[in-house]
């Protein structure tokens, strides 16, 4: 149980260090991924969404060599939201004159129309396409590089530094909590509901106190290495290659093709 959780928590981050897209230029990847994202939500078109889902799958799994199984598992993360949100969009309440399907619900009716069904499908696919486009970036770009892109966007240095530190501390705290949890389990801390609640809360309180105490020492350690109030971090320079540009061009070409075909049919 604990292992599974840790695995899930690390997974996206973990792949960003092993993906073959890892040596792509980070700024280029951000533009690529954001371009896809914005096109998908801006175009609001079923076909654009489908093309994006497939192309990003091809990039992440085909070119980046993220295992297919892992990719599909990651795509399932937002499933709950998609299904519930989709249901809320699809199902209408009221008289339901042009419904294709309905059931009575107390005084009123729950029904689905052709439009609402289409909308739900469209929104779901759009969301999945957006997720795929974002995964292309997050599954291949280590956090340090993502933060360096924020630096180029002139996000204040203070925020960047907080991001660097928070990222690092998340893993430190998570490791500590894993140990706490194992120790608590070994002493029957999770034997029943009530005990679990108490154990969990004590763990959290303990973790908070511990982290606040550690924060002081961590500052010392930074200062000891010449930190003077502004965190400067090493950024690797990765060049944009022709090959990288080619994939971008290919995606743009596909999108343009879809637009042209859609125009003709309208």
């Amino acid at each position: 149980m604990g292992k599974g959780k840790a695995y899930e928590q690390k997974s996206i981050d973990y792949y960003s260090y092993i993906s073959d897209l890892g040596n792509w230029n980070a700024v280029y990847k951000v533009i690529f991924s954001m371009g896809g994202l914005i096109t998908v939500i801006g175009a609001d078109s079923l076909w654009i969404s489908l093309v994006t889902i497939l192309f990003m799958l091809f990039l992440s799994v085909g070119v980046g060599r993220i295992p297919m199984k892992a990719y599909l598992r990651l795509m399932k993360i937002p499933a709950a939201f998609l299904l519930m949100g989709g249901a809320a969009i699809m199902v209408q309440i009221g008289r339901g004159h042009n419904s294709i399907f309905y059931i009575s619900f107390f005084q009123t009716k729950l029904y689905i129309t052709k439009d609402s069904l289409l909308l739900a499908v469209n929104v779901t696919l759009k969301a999945l396409a957006a997720v795929s486009a974002f995964y292309m970036l997050t599954l291949s770009t280590p956090m340090g590089e993502i933060i360096s892109v924020f630096r180029r966007l002139h996000v204040p240095a203070l925020i960047l530094e907080l991001m660097h530190l928070i990222y690092r501390y998340i893993f430190i705290l998570s490791e500590t909590n894993q140990k706490q949890k194992d120790a608590a389990k070994s002493r029957l801390g999770y034997c029943d509901m009530k005990t679990s609640f108490h154990t969990f809360s004590s763990e959290m309180a303990n973790l908070l106190v511990l982290s606040m105490k550690k924060a002081d020492m961590y500052y010392d350690a930074m200062e000891a290495r010449g930190y003077e109030g502004t965190g400067i971090f090493w950024e690797e320079t990765k060049t944009v290659t022709g090959k990288q540009l080619m994939y971008g061009a290919l995606y743009t070409l596909l999108l343009m093709l879809v637009f042209i075909v859609l125009r003709r049919n309208v």
Partner: protein
């Protein structure tokens, strides 16, 4: 298939979908790509004044004492962690706290707005909860509205001399409920109903997420109280550290 059978199947399907996917109950992050560009931008813009206020207050705290940077970062990491950890639950399905109320009570709403937006970004990047395009909307509901209400309730209860643990519960509980309502509203104006528009639609979103979000809010309240009790048992030294350095005056 008769209409009756169809209806049966439909009802069953709806119930099983809701039950089946309430297995993992997180705070209600609006996912990537769910909002159209105008809402992505609108919610982002609406969040800006709060974030600027938060940024300035953090900047001042760091000017007072540079060492606060590691404390703030730890607080941020803690909020991330608490919102990603599975909590023990009755039905065997797993839930997660949002940490909104606890964060607001411990660190104050202005610090939490900045930490919150970073945590939400990290949740999108590391856990695929929420997303980049929906960051504005999620920030507004989870890092601004929820914490502000929690903090307000907590302070109000303090003035009215309500039992501290009751006020902690109320702050955490209503912080969650408020976040859930705002998120439903955000979804509703993006996807109004064919009949009845935004209001009906909001009802639908509230309804469909209720089975996961209502128990979560109660749980959040209880756990926040237990955590605060546990914290109180520590020497006040550490608590003072948190309050002195991070909480606003």
């Amino acid at each position: 298939m008769s209409t009756k059978q169809k209806k049966m199947i439909f009802t069953l399907a709806v119930v099983s979908v809701i039950m089946g996917f309430s297995q993992r109950a997180y705070g209600m992050h609006i996912m990537e790509g769910y909002l159209s560009p105008k809402y992505c931008i609108a919610w982002g813009v609406l969040s800006i004044p709060f974030l600027v206020t938060g940024y300035l207050s953090i900047k001042k705290k760091l000017k007072d004492n540079r060492k606060n940077i590691t404390l703030l970062a730890m607080a941020g990491a803690f909020i991330f962690l608490i919102s990603s950890l599975k909590i023990p639950s009755v039905t065997g399905s797993c839930s997660h706290m949002t940490g909104t109320g606890l964060g607001a009570i411990l660190f104050g709403p202005t610090a939490v707005s900045i930490l919150g937006v970073i945590v939400l970004l990290f949740q999108a990047i590391l856990l695929a909860h929420g997303g980049l395009t929906s960051l504005g909307a999620n920030t507004f509901s989870m890092a601004i509205a929820g914490p502000l209400l929690s903090y307000g309730i907590f302070q109000l209860c303090k003035k009215l001399k309500v039992n501290p643990m009751v006020s902690v519960f109320l702050a955490a509980f209503f912080g969650d409920i408020f976040t859930y309502c705002i998120t439903s509203f955000q979804l509703a104006i993006a996807y109004p109903s064919e009949e009845g528009g935004v209001i009906t639609s909001m009802g639908k979103f509230l309804g469909v997420f209720a089975p996961t979000q209502l128990p979560l809010a109660v749980l959040e309240g209880i756990l926040t109280v237990l955590i605060m009790i546990a914290l109180k048992t520590y020497a006040n030294q550490e608590l003072k550290l948190v309050n002195l350095n991070l909480e606003e005056n």
